[in-house]
């Protein structure tokens, strides 16, 4: 049982870390704001989601698990909003130029 949990954690967290890595590389290498944003949101949403998913089996109590999930939801909300704001600012900057 414990082994299965640890396996889930290992796989999910590694996958999450991979998405973070990919997102970071994208952020550094992509040419313009919108594509960079694309890379960033992948890291934020999927990467963090997978990390949280991986940590859930390790949570000591239901309360801790709920906290983990709400962290992910809040990050999702903030990430979505901010990336849209950045995208809009980038578009406006392009049209005014």
């Amino acid at each position: 049982m414990s082994l299965a949990r640890d396996m889930i954690t290992l796989v999910a967290v590694s996958a999450g870390a991979f998405f973070f890595l990919a997102g970071t590389i994208g952020l550094l290498r992509f040419p313009d704001t919108l594509t960079r944003l694309h890379a960033l949101t992948k890291a934020d949403n999927l990467g963090l989601g997978l990390v949280v998913l991986g940590l859930l089996p390790q949570a000591a109590s239901v309360r801790d698990a709920l906290k983990l999930i709400s962290v992910w939801l809040l990050a999702l909300l903030a990430g979505a909003t901010v990336s849209q704001l950045i995208a809009r600012a980038a578009r406006e900057a392009r049209t005014t130029r």
């Binding site: 909300l77 903030a78 909003t81």
Partner: protein, 314 residues
């Protein structure tokens, strides 16, 4: 070398790199961005140092609100800062570098020379925790053993507000700070500003409440409340209040004033200034903290919005 210490080494290296970048980068705005990231990573160091209370404060106040403050200033000063062309000459930079390295080296030496049996007050804090019946040792130190510092620091916050307000033009004295923000009412920012504050307020209250026994407290909660309020202001959902308003000023002094009143109560009825009667210690501290979280939230928020710019009268 185990995984934990490898991680700590990497963390220190990354933070150091980020720090160097923040100091060395050409543009001021980039430096401000660098500082935000730096603040968040420093919070991680605090977690590794097993000081979660400090980590929360560092993330919320230094990295979060401090970062917003610096970013805002960098944006507003973009043009003014560019005009400064007084880069110090080579001699200055070299001697500054030498002296800074020397200082750091002396500090390293001093840290390495610290005695092996480190002195600590932790046992005494634990042994005297009965006086407040709170189990978070940091809250005990802040609210009971060193309550004077905490009270004075609230006055420091108030003075910072007075100092910032004193920079207003005479015509705007008592008026509203910062520009009136307007955002697309159907836009995503307004959406977030409507959706997030209820959750934020709940989290802030939770952090305040849990601060009695777990990491957390009025500072950390207050910083979150301030962030929620700033979000609403930036989305144009609410305007900054005129600083001459009586209710606003009452909120701004509520924390230190209640602290003083309770302290004087201890002087008058009890054993000493800022001494709590053991039976009522916990409720008294909770009441003070409830007042303090409002004061802290209002103060932090208003420190970010700056000096009054618009006259109170429309």
């Amino acid at each position: 070398m185990n995984i934990a210490s490898t991680f700590e080494l990497m963390l220190a290296a990354v933070v150091l790199g980020l720090g160097i970048w923040t100091i060395a980068v050409h543009e001021t705005y980039s430096a401000a961005v660098g500082f935000v990231a730096y603040g968040l990573l420093v919070a991680l160091i605090w977690v590794r140092l097993d000081a979660v209370d400090v980590a929360l404060t560092e993330a919320a106040i230094s990295g979060g609100l401090g970062g917003v403050l610096l970013l805002g200033a960098a944006a507003r000063l973009r043009h003014a800062e560019l005009m400064v062309a007084e880069v110090p000459d080579r001699l200055t930079r070299v001697s500054a570098a030498v002296l800074s390295v020397m200082t750091a080296a002396a500090l390293v030496g001093a840290v390495l020379w610290l005695p092996d049996s480190a002195p600590t007050l932790a046992p005494e804090v634990v042994a005297n925790a009965w006086a407040t019946s709170l189990t978070n040792p940091v809250t005990n130190v802040l609210m009971a053993f060193r309550a004077m510092d905490t009270m004075l620091e609230k006055v420091v916050l108030l003075l910072a507000i007075i100092g910032v307000w004193s920079l207003a033009p005479d015509t705007a004295w008592g008026g509203r700070p910062g520009p009136r923000h307007r955002a697309d009412p159907n836009g995503v920012l307004v959406f977030l500003a409507r959706l997030l504050p209820p959750a934020g307020i709940a989290i802030a209250v939770y952090i305040l409440w849990t601060g009695a026994n777990h990491p957390g407290g009025a500072f950390q909660g207050g910083a979150i409340l301030a962030a929620m309020w700033l979000l609403a202001v930036m989305a144009g959902l609410t305007d900054t209040p005129a600083v001459g308003r009586r209710w606003l000023r009452l909120i701004l002094v509520a924390g230190p004033a209640l602290f003083l009143v309770v302290g004087l109560g201890g002087l008058w009825f009890g054993t000493a200034f800022l001494a709590y009667p053991t039976a009522q210690a916990k409720p008294l501290i909770v009441v003070i903290e409830v007042a303090m979280i409002q004061t802290i939230a209002a103060t932090l928020g208003l420190l970010l919005t700056g000096a009054p710019e618009r006259s109170a009268k429309p």
